[in-house]
Point group: C2
Chain length 354, copies 2
């Protein structure tokens, strides 16, 4: 029942090739990879019209184009993942920045993290309400503070001090996400009633609950200098309460990069990614267990994650440019750009379902 959508954007690739031909950078290998995601588990194929599909793919493509422009000129993986995630944050289709889901209190609380595989430097912010591009604030934490993880109003004050764009919380309002919150609250009430009457759970409602539950954006890159970087940004879980923080801003769980192994950005039911310390587990299986990226990431995402009761997916690129995009949900918004060497064609794929 699963249909494979593989779209090779040959027109776009040709354009990229034309750009690349004008650049001659002898200090680098010319090989680069960029992989992005726009969330997993929030999709329902039956409700997907061709128009909606095109809209999502166009959103992913815009991000890849921006990242490609940086990497193609010999820019850093770090710059590429930040810029790429920023594009996705600014797109209301995805659950990050503009388009973030609402908390139980009807506000938007954003989390983001970035990591540099070359130095293991990392920066994260959690629970911020007024930072237009959380990923840029996470990078400022990494580069301009002695800290790794800043939270809440304090993180906002730090970002403002760094001259990062602050917006009114109303900037993050979108009617779609507001409806999502109302749906989630309604389902919560139904759940309470069901629990009270001991009625069996209705699968359809359960599926809807999962659908509104999460969504994240992320990017990982290998640049022409052989450096890896990872970035993740999210509005978290619809209807979240109690200052809940998921895996996205947690180094080693939702976000990790290490030049020795791999760069990873996760999306899914955050609590399970936290308990598995997802990204670091994959990196360590590669570093200490001699596992391939495919084996390590498939074991975690397709076996260990569902075995615990969770679901989701991730994107990864290893130090050799191999990529993995496993997910155990119905779909995951995802895409990649890959160039094997100077003069080679740029290959681009953008996919949604399996």
């Amino acid at each position: 029942m699963r249909i494979l959508f593989i779209i090779l954007f040959t027109v776009c690739s040709s354009t990229l090739l034309a750009q690349q031909a004008t650049v001659s950078n002898k200090t680098n290998t010319g090989k680069y990879v960029l992989v992005i995601h726009g969330g997993a588990g929030t999709l329902n194929k039956s409700q997907f019209t061709p128009a909606l599909e095109a809209k999502y793919k166009s959103g992913l493509d815009s991000a890849l184009v921006v990242g490609n422009a940086i990497l193609e000129k010999g820019g850093t993986a770090l710059d590429a993942v930040e810029a790429t995630v920023k594009v996705l944050e600014n797109n209301p289709l995805f659950n990050a920045g503009k388009g973030a889901v609402f908390t139980n209190e009807g506000i938007n609380e954003l989390d983001a993290a970035i990591m540099d595989g070359k130095t293991l430097a990392a920066g994260s912010i959690a629970g911020v309400r007024t930072i237009k591009n959380p990923i840029t604030a996470a990078r400022a934490v990494m580069e301009k503070s002695e800290h790794v993880l800043l939270s809440g109003r304090g993180a906002e004050a730090f970002a403002a001090m760094q001259g990062i764009e602050i917006v009114d919380p109303s900037y993050f309002y979108t009617p779609e996400r507001w409806k999502g919150l109302l749906r989630a609250k309604e389902r919560d009430s139904i759940d309470q009633l069901k629990k009270a009457s001991q009625t069996a759970y209705n699968d359809e409602i359960d599926e809807q609950r999962r659908k509104d539950k999460y969504g994240t954006v992320g990017a990982v890159a290998l640049d022409t200098h052989g450096n890896l970087a990872a970035a993740t940004s999210t509005g978290g879980m619809t209807n979240k309460k109690w200052g809940r923080i998921g895996d996205a801003p947690i180094i080693g769980s939702g976000t990790y990069a290490n030049n020795k192994t791999v760069a990873i950005s996760c999306t899914g039911w955050g609590e399970y990614f936290l308990r598995l310390v997802m990204a670091k587990s994959i990196s360590d299986r590669m570093e200490f267990g001699g596992q391939s990226l495919t084996l390590a990431s498939e074991t975690l995402v397709m076996k260990e994650l569902p075995a615990l009761g969770g679901d989701g997916g991730l994107i990864a690129v290893d130090k050799n440019g191999n990529i993995a995009l496993p997910f155990c949900t119905e779909g995951m918004y995802r895409g990649f750009i890959k160039k094997e060497r100077q003069g080679a064609a740029v290959v681009k794929d953008i996919l949604i379902f399996k």
Copy 2:
């Protein structure tokens, strides 16, 4: 120049043995281990009087006695680490609960985490100001919410809803920690002046800054049923700003437990533990690299941590009951209780310096 303090509490051990003799639990091995710490890197041997040393050791001993009473009766590792950390939280000598350091704004913001090695269930809270025993709130997050990490006022609301003891923020005031904040602020001002005039850093002041910077409490245990658990609690870094969160509440960094491998609780300069994903790195080196606990933990704490520029230590107990207590600072408040089998003597050590 380093003096080894090893105190074998034979009197206490005999008492414990007497208690144990009255218990007959055929469902368990009789073997258990409990290791605790009260922080690393905050010590200065030259300023340590015998009276002060006795005070700290007595504080650590009180915690071990409580944990021992639970494990000795066949109680769970989870109950033991929670109860042990609670004793340390209630002791103003240690930087957790009562005795927590102050933030730059002159308030106390507490973090804690707990993890069950049997199920990989985990719970954490970050940045709370009114929860008397953060470790108990972390356990409630693990057992009574669908979440892993709750933060700020939301975490406090959750804890209150669970009937967990809430106190006025003034409960956490201690004159020693207030003085520590004033010292830290003064040093920050001196740093600013020095930076402005490009004067070289004064090592003595730098040492003082490190001294006030951190401190944590933690416990790890192997119970008689073969289960591991870890718990960590802290007030974080003196003079911390911007809602900074360290490694203590982060599963995989400051706290981790997995029955397949090891239970770990860290203490030190949190940012470096976050970047190294310290605890999970050690667990994975054991699981996938076939390394011993000693090799894995020494490599991380004595090599990788200082190589990045950080310092600190950790306590660990593996699934076979082996323990490790490495630290690359001047000292680490630490102690353990170990019983090899039913009828064996309970061995207890409490140490501060190398």
